[in-house]
Every structure is written in C-alpha cells, then in structure tokens.
Assembly symmetry: C2
Homo-oligomer: 713 residues x 2
C-alpha cells in the first residue's frame, strides 16, 4: 500500500542521512527488514560489542603462553608469569570468532550478493576466519602444545577491517608503495654497488697487519653488505671507517660518499617522495568522504521526493518540510546539528525544499561547533564588581604563571642543593614549607577565579579544568601529608608511616607542580600553535596508530615464532635461553609497543636493545648483526623491521606533520584576527578549503548505479 | 659635447645590461671613469684573482702550525707534519690582505659615499680587515709564538662577503631564526621540565642497591640535563632507560614520552618550520633577483633613449636599433644569447624599440639553452645504413647495459668465491680472462656507436662521454697489465712488477667496471629523475655549502684555540696529548670538513669520533659527554655544534630537497610528453613559473631613486 511505501521511503531517508553523517557507503539493501538490520548493526551497542571483541582478542596475547607481563624486565629477579590453563584463552577466542562470524554474515547480507563478490575486504575477512577456526581446532586437538599458531598473526586483521579510516589510510600507503619501492630499489643499487667497491677496495692484503678493515667489516659479501647497511642507519658510523682511515686518510672519502649519497640524499628523498605522494592521497580520500556525505543526503532527498504525499512536479522534484521533519526526528545525529537544522527548517518560509536547499540544510554537518562560554555572574555589590574585574583580568592569570615559575625555580634550587646529600642527611623542611605556601596560593587563585568567573564559566575553559584538577589533587596530597607526618618544622625527618614515605610524598607533589607548570602553554602564542598542531596530529594519527599496532603485533608474534630458542648463548655469557627470546620480542607488545629487549652480561654491565625508534632499531642492527648472535633469518627480520617501522613509518609521520603544520601555519597567517584558539580536529576540516563539491550529475549517476535502490525517475 | 655624452650613455647601457645579466645591483657610480673601473673590477681576471686570494687565505690553515695534514691519522705511525718557518704564511697572508684592501676600496668608491654608510657588509669588511691586520702585526711582533689568532677565525668572512648568493641565503636563514628560536626554546622548556621530572623520579633512595639510574645518569642537574640532551640525539637511547626499566617496566613510559615528544614531534616540527619558512624566503630572494635583472634592462633602455640621435617623442621613449646593436657588440655576455638577440633584432621590421619590446628582447637571458645534438653521418652504402640503424638503435644500448650487468655479476661471483682464500692461493686467471673479454666488448660497442652516430654526435651525449672515457681508461689499464704481466693463463700468479701488483691492477679495473655500470642511470626513468634532482640540488646548494664551509672553518679554528691541551688522559689510556686535540679538531678542516677525531686506547681496540652528520655528532656527544673527558666548555661547544651542523643544517638541506623535488615532480607530471631530460640548473629557473614580473611603475620608481643616475624625464 501507499502507507507502507511511505514508511519505507521515510526509513530509507533516515538510513541514508545516517550514512551521510558517518561517511558510510549507501550501497546496501534498502528493503524494510534489511534497513532494520542495518540500523541495528550500526547501532552503538552492536559496534561497541564488536570493538570490545576486537580488543579482547588482541589483548589475549598478553596472557597467552609466552607472555612476559611482569613488573621487572630483569630475568634474574623476575617471577614466572602466570600461565593460563589450556582451554581458557581458547574458549575466549572461540567466543570472539563467533562474534566475527555474525559480523561478517550481517555485513555480507547487507551489501548483497553482487557487491559481496567485488568486496575484497569481506572475502579476506571470511578467509581469515576460516583459517583461524581451522588453526583453533588444530590447537585444541594438540592440547595447546603446538608451536606454530597462525591465527595469532592473523588477529590484527580484525582490527584493520573494522575501521574504514584505517582501510583508507592503508589504501593511501598502498598507492605510495610503487614510488617508495623505487627509492628502496635505488637504495639497494646504491648499497650493492658500494659493497662491491668496498670489497675491492678493502681486499685481503698479503701482509696480515694491514687489513684490519677487511677482517672486521668486509670479510665476505654478506658481511660487507651488513656493514654498509648498518652504516646507512648511521649506527656504526665512525667505527666502520676507522681501521681504513687510520691507514690512509683518503679512505674516508669512500665512507663520506656513501653516507652523503645514501643518508643525506636518498633517505631524505624518501621523505620528499612520501610527503609529496601522501599529500595528494590524503586529500583524495577526504574528497571521497565528502562525496559519500553528499551522496547520502542526495539519496535521502530522492527517496523523500518520491513520497506520494508530495505533489508531482514535471520539472523539479521537491521534498515537503513535514516529511523531512518526520525523518529528522528519527535520525540518530549530533544534538547540536539536529537543533540547528530544525531551527532553519522552521524559519524557512516555503513549505517545500528543492535539492539544492535540501543539500544546503545539511551543510550544518560540516561545520565546527562554536563553543560559547557561559557568562560571568553579575554581582550587585560595587566591591564584588571590582574583585571580579581584578581577578577575571588576564593579568591575574599571568601573576599565577609567575608564581608557578617561582615554585619551579625553588624546587630546582632545592634539587641542586640536595643533589650530593645522603638520603639520611636530607632535610625535607624547606621544600615542605615552600610547597605548602605555594599550594595555598594556588588554592586561593582557583577560588578567586571561580568567584570572578562563576563555576560554570571557570570550568568551560580546558586550561582552568587542568589547573583546578591539579590544585585539588595537590591540596589533598598536602593535607594527607600533614595528617600523617604533622606540620613541617626544621629537622623534619619523620619515620616511614603509611603507604608512602614523606620523601615520596614530597616528590609526588613536586612532580605534580612541574606538571602544573604546563598551564603556561596557552599564554604563549607560538607554543599554543605548536600544541594545537600536535593535538590535531594525534587526532589525525589514529588511523596511522592503528596500522602501526597491526604491524607491531604481527612483527612481535612472528618474532616469537621465528626465534623461539634461536638465541644461542656465546662463551661466558650468562644463559638466558628460550624464554628470553620470546619475552624479548613480546616486549614489543607488552610495553606499549615499545621495544625489543635483549639482556645479557658481557664485558659491559648489561646491554639492552629495544627497537621502536630509529636509534633503537639502529642499535638492534648494530649489536645483533655485528655480534652475529642470531642466525641469518634474524637479519632479514630486523632489516624488514627497520625499513617498516623506522624508515617508512617515521617518514609517513613527518609527511603528516609537515602537511598539518603548513596548513595550520597558513591559516594562522590568514586568520590573524581570531583571538580564540581554533581546534581543527579532523582531516576533513583541515582540507575544507581545498575540497571540491561534487556536481549534481556525478551524484545522480552514482545514485542510478545503486545496486538495490530503484529511483522512480 | 654630444658625442661624449652619447659615448657615456652607450657605456652606461653596456654596464647596466651586464648588471642585469649577473643579477647585480645598478646602484653604482655611472660617470665614464667609474664605469671603466667598474667593468675592470667585474672583469673575469679581477674576479678570478679575488677568488684565488680567498682560496689561498682559507687554505693557509692546512699548512699553518697546528696542522695535521698527514697520510695516516694514527698518531702512533704518523710523521710530524711540516712546520713552515715564521714569516712564510704571514707574508702570504699580508699579500692577501692587500688584495682585500684594494677590493674594499674599489667597491666602496664605486657605490659612492652615501650608499657606503648604508651597506653593512662593506663596513663589516673594513672592520674585519682592520682587526686582521692588527692581529697580523701582533703576531709578527711575537715572532709567531702567540696562541690566540683572531684573524684565523675571521677568515671565512672573506668568502662570505664575496658571494651575493651566500649573502642572500644567509639573509634567508636569518629570517627563519626567530621561528627556529621558538622551537629551540620549546625544546629547552621540554628538556628542563623533563629534567626536573627525572630528578624527582630517579632520586637517591635509602638502599644504595636500587638507584643505579641515579648513580649513572641523574646524579645532579648538569648530569641529568646532559643525559636527556643526549637522549634527544638518540645516542644513548636504550642505555639510559635500562637501569630504571629493569627495576620496573613502567619507568619506560617516562623515556618514551620524552622521546616521542622531543624527537618525533619537536624535532620534526623544526623540519616543518624550516621548510615552511625557507620556502617563502627562497622564492622571495629569487624574485628580487628577477627585479634586479628587469631593472638593469630598463635602466639600459632609459639611458639609450636619452641618446641625442633618437628623435624626441612626447608620449613614449624609444631606442634605435642601431644604438642597441652598438651596445650589444660591446656587452660581455653568453655567446648563444647574444646571437639570439642579434637575430631577433635583425628580423625585426621596425627600426625603433619601445620599452616593452626592449624588455622582451632580453627575455632570451631567462631561457634555457636547448642543446641540439649534431646529426648522424649519412652513409651511401646500403650495408652501412643497416649497420647505422642497428647500432644507433636504443636496443643496442640496452644490450650494452645487460653486458655491463653480466660483468658486474661475474665480478661479484669471483669476489664471493675468493672471499675466504689466502692472497697467495688466489688465482687471477679467471677474473683476468673475463675482464679481457668484457673490455673488448666495451671497445667494440664504443667503436660501433661512433660508427653509427659519428664522433661529434657520440660525444654530444654526456652518457656516451662517460662511457667512452671509462672504456679508454680500461683499455689502457688492460694493455698495461698485459705488457707487464703477460697474457692470463691458468695459475697466473706473477711476481710483483712495476708500480702496482697484478692484483691491484685487476682490482682497479674491477672498480672502474663497477663505476661504469652507472651508465644505466639515464635508461631508468625514476633514477634519471632522482639523479637530475640531485644534480639540481648540488647546483642550488653551492651557497649552502659555502655557508657550511664558513661554519666548519670557524668551529674548527675555535675548537683548536679552546681545547689546546684540554684533553687530559685518563687512567691507563695511552697518552695522546696536546698535539692530538689540535689535530683532532683540525681534522674538521683537513678531511674535506668531515669530522672530529679523538683517538685513544681503552678496552676497545680504539675509539674514534668524528662529527659531521647527525650520528657522528651524536657519538661525540655520547662519548665525550659521558666519559667526561673534556671540561664543561666542551659540552657547550659540542651542543652548539650539534645544533648548528646537525639539527639546523640538515633540516635546511631537507627543506631544499623537498622544495626541489616536489617542484620537479610536479613539472614531470605536467610535462610528460618531453622525452629528453631537462636540466634545470638554477634556483631562478626552478621558480620561473611562480615568479611575478615587476610592473613598469615599480621599475621607474626604483630608477628615479638611483643615487648617481639623473634621468632626463
């Protein structure tokens, strides 16, 4: 019937508008039941359950068998980590897999059979699930004693496929790969030509005294290649040159040439290429997001315009305001946006909307929320008004900054004075007294500010919230200190009582004071710019961070599988063994994805390697490769690791930072008058000025290609 | 008289056009005698003498007293360097100073008294000369035994003031300094806050066992600051974290936060800022060059239009073609340009030129030379034509590349096979035989190409010149080998004869073959792009390199003065002494400005430090600062050195590379059809598309402000 049709159209419009808001594709089934399923699937609860499942399955690695989640990393003192019984983690895993199976089935059903075959991500999803389940069955049938667990390496895929932003970023990275591969190829050519040159230059000579260079670094082809590769990471930079250099200064020319060409030119060229390529692709992906949004809105318009209640118009289609209001009431969207759209709808004089008007209405979605601070309280008393003026004035904030600086300086002075004292000689009186004074001032400042601005206005500024929170914590700590250790007096060295010693309490207070000093940031223009850029970057970096997590996870688990028992102790080195190599690589995952740690006693007291940033990876390469601790596979593993985590990821980061900063900087120059710091949180907003609006023809063409929606016209 | 006036005008026009060609300012005296002096001063001979003088005075440091220009850098085997007698270097210096005095007098006279007072560079030049001469007199009166020689540190100024490009670049760097200072300030704040945090976090505890972190890295304020500064250079990256980390994994969060904020964010922010700022300023300076050129041309037009022979015209001024031809004949300019201008003059139908036409005529100066290759010879014989077709075809070149690759591979195989053999076991027969074959092929290839293309056309390609030269050298070497050591045969291990042993000869040949393999570069599109970018960069980098030389020179000589005898040998370290510290810093200068070397024997066989690139400087900081070898002054010296050479210079380099590459890349995308590689050698040409032409009003206003030229109208 017409009523059912109308209900269907309304529901379709609701879903299309929600798609537009979330930048989702509109190519899904549009019959009533599917729409209900679709809304259920993308409801907050369902998506939250899905995210939780992904988190759980990723976190499983922390308690699974070769885990090293202990307080100390020192194998000498470390207690054995808890080993879950066989079947515990496996049953949790099975639950997760079941959720994923439901997820993939719903997704596949919703996009329809034809689209399913085109969607490589979904196919890969199903394949991953099949492999994982098979591996799970194998694992259980061996009672968890098998060594190779493929499903662990596949886990990060679930994270990857669930985020459209990450998929987009991966696509961007994928598009830059050919260019990157060219430079990496160039690096390889550079490396191999120089290796041959080096082997010819530093050949074995007839008198054994003179060929130190040959013995240490260029004994054979793999050795030479390694030496020069490590030189490319600048880890062995002066060392590799020294034996030859001490023979003849001219040999240094070879190393200088290699370093200048490889490090200064080719490596930076990689930065340039990644920056150049990535810039374009980021813009492109944002452009496609915009297209999805416009398409969703347009689709909603088209279905609403085919409502029977709308009078047919030969020339143009229209949407009645009543229908739109019905749709809007049911749409799940940001409250502020909904209010704004409703407001402009009710103030609209006409009772029908054309496509252009409809589209314009929803441009509210693209706008920033302009945050309005609540007003200050209005006092009657003349004295209070003066107080309000005085303590609401920015100068009062500056005085507070100066006091905070004075506090920092005083702490610094005490630290310098106490540096060489024994802990037993230390007198905590002075620090205790001054901190007490300063914290009282901070409390006073907070109260006066609240008085002047009113609590609501005070709390509406993030800097005040930061300030107030820290002041309250400091106050609580100080009161606790006095309650436990009494008031400070000269020679104040009480015995240890309660949870923390007095010295620890004072340290904690001092640390918080140092941290509180960051409140000066918004007062310094350049610093504020830098900090807002960094905050933007962090927001934009989520997709990158996700991909990084995927890479780390895969590398860590691959490492565990590859190097189980591969660390062979050398000579008089303390035996560390099997467990270490696993925990060492697992550390990647455990410690906020930080590093690789290898721990043993040699001539140095201890030597530890961790691989996250360039230098760390560099260290890894230097020591691991030169010490020849691990077999040749480790070399390849670490070179791949270095290339991906250090070279490519760092360069991507630099590219994003450059892009973000230059954009911000330009805007700052253009929009000098704006006094408030403008937070631009998303990639979409960053590029808003350069984005192109899709044309009507493009939108309609795309709509007509929709696999499930039959438009009347 | 009118004739004399006319001659003056002609001369003025000549000089103005020459100014325009060289991008010089036209604000100099314009009377006849001054013009003669001006042309004499800017003649090639004079400028060559000036450059030579600057080179000599800079090179003096290599033979002056604390020089270390010896073959080996090993103090154990090194012969004492030659010490010139007192008075020898001093008299050369005096000669140089005299040249500079003449230079500064002529320059000051030419720009005139009023301009002189505005020109800070000239004032500084005079001041430098006065100080240098005073120091020279002091030096001689002490018979060269004085320690402090200020004039040495001032020497690089002569290099600086002589290059307008370097002055411009310095101005650009100067303009970015405030922004850089902001980031450096931010880094300082970051560093000091984290230092305080670290001192509070890693304080001395009551049980002495647990505070390894405090003992090694955070004993007092300077120590802590140093530890974290070195961490910022990533040199002590895992080490500094390990004692705390082995106590509790959570401590790593502190170090990770510090590294991520400092290294990943702030350091890269510096790159972004320098890139962003520098981009603008480079364009600006190129824009001002263009203005100078247009102004010179316009000035020439104005003086020529006031020639009496030109009919007065109320509305517009004109220049007769005859006058311009007379000027052109005397102007010292690129032959190709002159020809092109003459040609368009003679084909011009009118006999007078307006200002616009005049300006347009000289736009030839802005154009690239389009290199035309001479034609191939035309053979009569049908066979020869076929030969020509076959060997002139690009495929023949590809075959040559494949053969070169095969040669490289064969050398590689031999190297791998011979890697573990004793030199006495080595059989040179195989390598000798295959090289002989390959070199014959190369010779044949060269001859056939010459046959197909003709000698002139063959030589007009740079890749062919490279190829041919190496082939000839290889041939000569091979013939020499056979002449000395006979033809190769199995078991070919002749005794050492002549200058080089057979093995050395073979190695030399192999190295040349590896080098010759670079001929493949123009055949690979991406490689060709990269290589041309690098070549451009080298051209554009001359000014940078000059400034780098200035900085290195100053640092090296300051270091020598500061640390004379400051290296105090520790414990059982072999005494290296006074001389070393001098030579060590002097090495900066000696070895193509490469590094700092410190050489002593401890537990390791030897440890050498050199400071040019990040990692090297990093090493310096790590070892020098942690070993505490040198007093606190050295710390400041090395931190300054690290900031300038490593942080700022490398970032400037990256900025220039990014700029250059992105520009080039964009152009490549636009101009895909162009098959020949286009060399864009100068900054001016790189920016040509974005430059703005100065307007007529701007030019005329500037002309009327000329201090010496009175225009009639």
């Amino acid at each position: 019937g017409t009523g059912a049709d109308n209900d269907l159209y309304i529901n379709q419009a609701i879903v299309f508008i929600e798609d537009a808001i979330q930048y989702r594709s509109i190519n899904h089934r549009v019959d009533s039941k599917s729409l209900w399923l679709y809304r259920w699937y993308y409801s907050r609860t369902c998506q939250w359950i899905l995210s939780l499942t992904i988190t759980i399955i990723l976190a499983l690695a922390f308690i699974e068998k070769p885990s090293s989640l202990t307080v100390t990393s020192d194998v000498r003192y470390r207690l054995p980590a808890w080993n879950p019984p066989c079947g515990l983690t496996e049953s949790i895993e099975l639950l997760c897999f079941l959720v994923f199976v439901v997820d993939v089935s719903v997704k596949s059903y919703l996009i329809g059979w034809e689209e399913f075959w085109k969607n490589k991500w979904l196919m890969a999803y199903i394949l991953t699930l099949i492999v994982s389940l098979t591996d799970w069955i194998v694992s259980l049938s061996f009672f968890c004693t098998e060594n190779v667990r493929i499903r662990r390496i596949l886990r990060p895929f679930f994270l990857l496929q669930n985020s459209s932003m990450m998929k987009k970023t991966l696509k961007s990275i994928n598009s830059t790969l050919p260019e990157m591969a060219s430079v990496v190829l160039l690096l390889a050519v550079h490396l191999s030509l120089f290796t041959m040159f080096a082997m010819l230059l530093f050949a074995r000579t007839k008198d054994g005294q003179q060929d130190k260079e040959w013995v240490v670094y260029f004994r054979n082809l793999p050795e030479s290649l390694t030496s020069l590769l490590v030189l490319l990471t600048t880890a062995n930079n002066p060392d590799v040159m020294i034996p030859a250099y001490s023979k003849n200064r001219a040999y240094s020319i070879f190393f200088i040439l290699f370093t200048v060409l490889g490090n200064l030119f080719l490596m930076n060229l990689l930065t340039a290429i990644i920056y150049n390529q990535f810039r374009g692709y980021l813009l492109k992906s944002v452009q496609s997001s915009l297209f999805r949004r416009r398409l969703g809105i347009r689709a909603a318009f088209e279905v609403l315009s085919s409502l029977k209640e709308t009078p047919a118009n030969a020339q143009q289609s229209y949407v009645s305001i009543g229908a739109l209001l019905r749709v809007l009431q049911k749409v799940d969207m940001d409250f502020r946006c909904k209010q704004a759209i409703m407001r402009s709808l009710t103030t609209c004089s006409c009772d029908q909307l054309s496509a252009v008007q409809f589209q314009k209405l929803f441009e509210e979605l693209d706008k920033d929320a302009i945050r309005q601070h609540p007003p200050s309280p209005e006092y009657q008393s003349h004295f209070m008004q003066k107080m309000q003026f005085a303590f609401g004035h920015p100068y009062f904030g500056y005085v507070g900054n100066v006091v905070a600086l004075a506090n920092i300086v005083s702490i610094c002075v005490v630290l310098v004075m106490d540096a060489d004292k024994q802990p037993s000689e230390r007198d905590d009186y002075f620090l205790g007294a001054i901190n007490c004074f300063f914290i009282l001032y901070y409390l006073l400042e907070m109260l006066l500010k609240i008085l002047a601005m009113g609590l609501k206005r005070y709390l509406s500024y993030p800097s005040n919230r930061f300030d107030g929170l820290l002041t309250v914590i400091l106050l609580v700590l100080e009161i606790a200190t006095f309650a436990v250790y009494k008031f400070p007096h000269p020679g104040w060295r009480p015995e240890f009582v309660g949870l923390l010693s007095l010295w620890d309490m004072v340290r904690l207070v001092n640390m918080l004071i140092v941290f509180r000093f960051l409140r000066i940031i918004p007062n310094m223009k350049f610093m504020a710019l830098v900090v807002t850029t960094l905050l933007d970057l962090v927001k934009n970096l989520r997709a990158f961070a996700g991909i990084l997590v995927v890479v780390f996870y895969t590398f860590a688990l691959t490492g565990i599988m590859l190097f189980k028992g591969a660390v062979v102790p050398l000579g008089n080195i303390r035996y560390v063994g099997n467990r270490l190599s696993a925990s060492w690589l697992f550390f990647n995952l455990c410690n906020l994805m930080v590093g690789v740690i290898l721990y043993f006693k040699e001539k140095r007291d201890f030597m530890a390697l961790s691989g996250h940033f360039q230098a760390e990876v560099t260290y890894c390469l230097l020591y691991l490769l030169s010490v020849n601790l691990i077999c040749r596979w480790a070399k390849i593993y670490f070179v791949a690791w270095w290339l991906i985590s250090s070279v490519i990821w760092v360069n991507l980061f630099v590219a994003l930072l450059l892009e973000n900063f230059i954009h911000k900087w330009d805007r700052r120059c253009h929009r000098e008058p704006l006094s408030d710091i403008e937070y631009q949180r998303t990639v979409e907003l960053m590029f808003r000025d350069v984005l192109e609006e899709p044309t009507e023809e493009e939108l309609m063409e795309k709509l007509h290609q929709h696999p499930h929606l039959q438009l009347c016209r």
